[in-house]
Each structure stands twice: as C-alpha cells, then as structure tokens.
C-alpha cells in the first residue's frame, strides 16, 4: 500500500482517535474492510457506534463486515479553509453516503473527484481505503468514488 500518494486531503488534519467503542471499525479499515455495529438482539445495523441498540436496547452489539458501497445521500464542497492544513487545498468534496444494504446507515467521507466535478444525489459509490501508515498510531480513512466513474 502506498503511504503518501493519492490522499484526498493534505497532511496535518486531526487523526481519528481509534480508542474505545469504535475500535473494531478502525481495525477493520486497516484491513480494507468496512465493519460496523450490528445488534445481536434484533439483527439490525447502527452507525455511529453507541453502547446500546437504539431499537431494542440490547447491549449485545456485535460488529459485522458490510459491503463497502452505497449511494450519495447529500454532499458539500467547502471552499473556506477551516483548518490551517487546508490552506491552499480547497475546494474539496464531502459526501454523506447511505448504505441501503445495511439498514440505511450513513457515513461521511470525501468524494474522490475533480474540484469542480458535478455531484449527483443518489449516485452509486464505492469505498476506497486510504491508509495513513506513517501516522502514530497508523490509521486508515474511508473515502468514496463513483462506481464506474
């Protein structure tokens, strides 16, 4: 895996804390797998991670791999750099991706696209795992690109 090339955003943004409740998710991303909470009580997925199932109140929340694809539910393209690391690196595109095969949970990531590319709500996207191997501790982000795009 490449360590520094093909990143959507520049170095210097906050790294994700990989502690506690969300640990299995981050472990999954390191292996190129999308792993989210699935309740052993009612069998439904939920995201983001929480200690209890919001549907059946079971604390027995397992973690399951889900297919790394979805649909763009909404999007935005920031131009104003809200963090010093982003100076000179805007605009970039953020998407909210819905996973219909996982009870419609949604995830936030960057869309890998040209800065002026049109974005279509409902477009099919697939996950692209973006490793940050040099970070301490290393972590992997989940980015998105339009399928067949």
């Amino acid at each position: 895996m490449s360590t520094t090339t093909n990143r959507v955003l520049p170095e210097g943004l906050p790294a994700p804390s990989q502690d506690g409740l969300a640990r299995p998710y981050w472990d999954g991303t390191r292996q190129g797998r999308l792993v989210i909470q699935k309740c052993r009580g009612c069998g439904r997925h939920q995201w983001g991670p929480e200690w209890v199932c919001h549907r059946c109140h079971s604390f027995d929340l397992g973690w399951e791999e889900v297919a790394p694809r979805g649909r763009i539910w909404s999007w935005q393209r920031p131009h104003h750099p809200v963090h010093p690391a982003l100076n000179g690196h805007t605009p970039y595109t953020i998407v909210l991706v819905e996973l219909p095969h996982a009870d419609g949970v949604r995830m936030v990531g960057n869309l890998i696209c040209a800065p002026d590319a049109p974005v279509t709500i409902g477009a099919e996207v697939e996950a692209v795992f973006e490793p940050h191997d040099e970070a301490d501790p290393p972590y992997t982000l989940v980015q998105w690109r339009v399928r067949g795009g």
């Binding site: 994700p16 804390s17 939920q46 909404s74 935005q76 393209r77 920031p78 809200v82 605009p91």
Partner: protein, 395 residues
C-alpha cells in the same frame, strides 16, 4: 386538573443589551458585558437587580449564574439553569425555562441571557489544531468536516435539491436582515448595505448554497430579558409581553451520531413547532412578525418551512425580499432589527429583545399593530427551541 401551559402565565418585563461589537472589538470582558445587559434589563423593567432570583442561559455561556448572583449582590438565588446544546439552539428555551421557573413558583424574577465575546476565546469557524479527533469528530474531522457551517451544509443541500429551491431564496433572507439593520444604530452592519450584486459576487464558503453572506459573523456583546409572573408585569412600566407558547427539543433521533438522523434534511423543529403552536393556540398565519435565527440562511429556510411559514413548493416565490420587509407589501416581516447576520450574532437573544420592542410598539422598523411575534431559535442543532410572544390583545 388545570391545563399545563405557560400561555399567558409569565411575561417579559424588561430587555437589555450592550453595545454590539464586531468580533474581538469589545473593550469590556465578556462577564462585564453580561452584567451590563442584565442591569439594563432590570432598569428597563423598573426592578431592583437585587430582586432577581434566577438565571437561565444556553450555549454553554461562560458567565455562570452563581457568579452573576454574587457580583450583583442578589439576595437569594432560587433558580440556576443551563440549557444543553451549543450555539443558539437554546435561546427560546432559556426564556421558557425562566418562565417555567417563575410560573411553578421556584423563582419570582428570572433573567434569561447570553453573553459572548468570542474574540476573547476560541472562534467557532476555526477548528483547533493538533489533537486527535474523538467521538463523532473522529468520523468527520479527518475528512475536513469541522466547522458549524460544514456540520449543517448537507442538510441544506439535500432539502433544497429535493424541492428545487433556488439560492436566490437564501439571498432574500440575507438581504432582509441587512436591509433592516441599516436603520438600527446598534447594528454591527449598519452602513454596510447588501445588494444582490454584492451577494452574488461574494466568495463561496461551501458550495452549493453557502456564500459569505449566507453565514453569520461572530460578534461581541450581551443581551438579557427579565421574566416575571404575568400578574406582576401589569404593575411595571412597560406594556407586558406575554409568553404565549414555547417548545424545545428535537424529533426522533435528531441528534443521532455521524449524520445518521433518520429525518436528516431538517432544522429539527418538526415536533417542536407542533408543540409550540399547540401551546400558543395559534399558527403561523397569526404572527405579525417573525424573528428567525440565522446561523446560515439555509437553516432559516428549514425553520420557516417546519414552522409552517413557508411551503417548500412555493419557497422560491415566498422568499423574495419585498415579502420579508417592514413597511411595504410584505406578508412576513422578518428579522426586523437585522438579526444575527446584520444586527449582532448574539445567539438570538437580540431577536427576543426585538420581539419585545415590536410588541411594545417601540421597534426601529416597527410593524404597525404587531400583537404576535414568533422567535425561531438556532436551527439544525439539537435541541432547538422556539417561542411565541404577544400583547394582551393576543391572550
């Protein structure tokens, strides 16, 4: 059993505010600004500040009630209340919480306030650097999603795309605030009118619906209102402004983590607005004036829709400048002192003060014969809150 309501039970007897400053320009410390606004509200109400026995605020206000009570020599503190949630989501709730305390007999004379000299602390529109992102932010900040504008933008994108609402509707919202501010000597943006050309030429903050003028500024200042039982308000100098309805909260899982609220493209007022109108026994058609909190103009659109002021199918026709102004042909005069965008970003407290002035008949841009005013608090956060206030004629 008697009806459980605040309708007509409590009144705003006094309003106070400081000079409003551009971000970082206050010569006074934030706590001193709070004291100034509170003393002004007491003076306005003709009540000795030592008689105040409670404080209610929101947005993690740094001027804490017990310190205020000690500084002002308050005889007895009976109510101290901080409403959960950031920004101005709690502005109407703070007034309502003060009202609930007064009506329930927990306190007699409660200040609801907001003090903000953000320049003396961290800015909202800039992220902190260095630390690892925890909690929800772990799934957002590494992707460059950090600011309040970014937290809400995708709600607005989705709603406006679904309903075919044009950016010009948001431009009208911004222009109404700037227009009204031009007559207001305490408005930060007085002397800086906003034209269509200036708006259209302003830089993108976030595509597709946030230009510079769609976004609130940051300001320094403080505002306060004094809430007393309705009976008492009758004996005070000003015409009483009655609380007719108040509601706060959010719909089912509106605060779900990582942008997973089931009904996402929302300002979170859907259930709140229903409760508000039920308590007020009024609807949007009964309001003479609307004060709608602008953190971002897209949020105002969502607020107006969810409170029933605007029909999404007709938003492009309803949200035009002429319809939002005082004194013309407008059917929905809005943000009549300049709002968050152009009077002062005092997290909406300035809008409560303006609602009171409209009902007293003393506003700078006065809506003739205003008897009912709605104040829609900060949208898209959770919890949100809104209130309806009115004159005796509206009881």
């Amino acid at each position: 059993m008697s009806e459980r309501t605040l309708r007509g039970k409590v009144a705003i007897a006094g309003v106070g505010e400081t000079t409003y400053y551009r971000h970082g320009q206050s010569p006074d410390a934030e706590f001193k600004l709070a004291l100034q606004a509170i003393l002004a509200a007491c003076r306005d109400a003709g009540i000795d500040p030592r008689e105040v026995d409670g404080f209610a605020s929101y947005g993690d206000d740094r001027s804490d009630g017990p310190r205020l009570a000690a500084s002002l020599g308050i005889r007895e503190l009976r109510f101290s209340n901080m409403h959960w949630g950031g920004g101005g989501g709690g502005v109407a709730a703070a007034v309502a919480n003060a009202g609930a305390a007064v009506h329930s007999g927990m306190a007699n004379c409660v200040i609801a306030f907001r003090s903000l000299a953000q320049g003396q602390f961290a800015r909202y529109g800039r992220s902190r650097t260095g630390a690892a992102a925890v909690g929800d932010d772990a799934f957002l900040a590494p992707y460059g999603l950090m600011s309040p504008a970014q937290r809400f933008a995708m709600k607005i994108t989705r709603f406006m795309t679904d309903h075919g609402i044009r950016h010009e509707a948001l431009r009208a919202i911004a222009m109404a605030s700037y227009h009204h501010a031009q007559n207001n000597p305490n408005a930060v943006m007085r002397g800086r009118p906003l034209t269509e050309e200036k708006y259209d030429a302003s830089r993108w903050i976030i595509e597709p619906f946030h230009r510079l003028f769609d976004c609130c500024q940051e300001n320094d200042g403080a505002g306060a209102v004094l809430v007393v039982p309705a009976d008492r308000a009758k004996d005070l100098p000003h015409k009483p402004v009655y609380l007719l309805g108040a509601a706060q909260g959010g719909h089912h899982r509106s605060a779900a983590p990582v942008h997973n609220a089931p009904d996402y493209a929302s300002a979170h007022f859907k259930t709140v607005a229903k409760n508000l109108w039920e308590m007020a026994r009024l609807g949007p058609q009964d309001c003479d004036v609307v004060q709608a909190y602008e953190n971002f103009t897209g949020g105002v659109l969502l607020s107006l829709v969810e409170h029933g002021f605007v029909d999404p199918a007709r938003a492009n026709e309803q949200l035009v400048l002429e319809n939002l102004l005082v004194g013309g042909t407008g059917t929905m005069p809005m943000n009549t002192s300049g709002g968050n965008l152009a009077e002062c970003y005092m997290h909406g407290l300035e809008m409560v003060n303006e609602a009171v002035r409209q009902l007293r008949g003393t506003a700078i841009n006065q809506v003739a014969g205003a008897n009912v005013v709605a104040v829609l608090g900060g949208p898209m956060v959770t919890p949100v809150s809104s209130l309806v206030v009115g004159t005796e004629a509206a009881l």
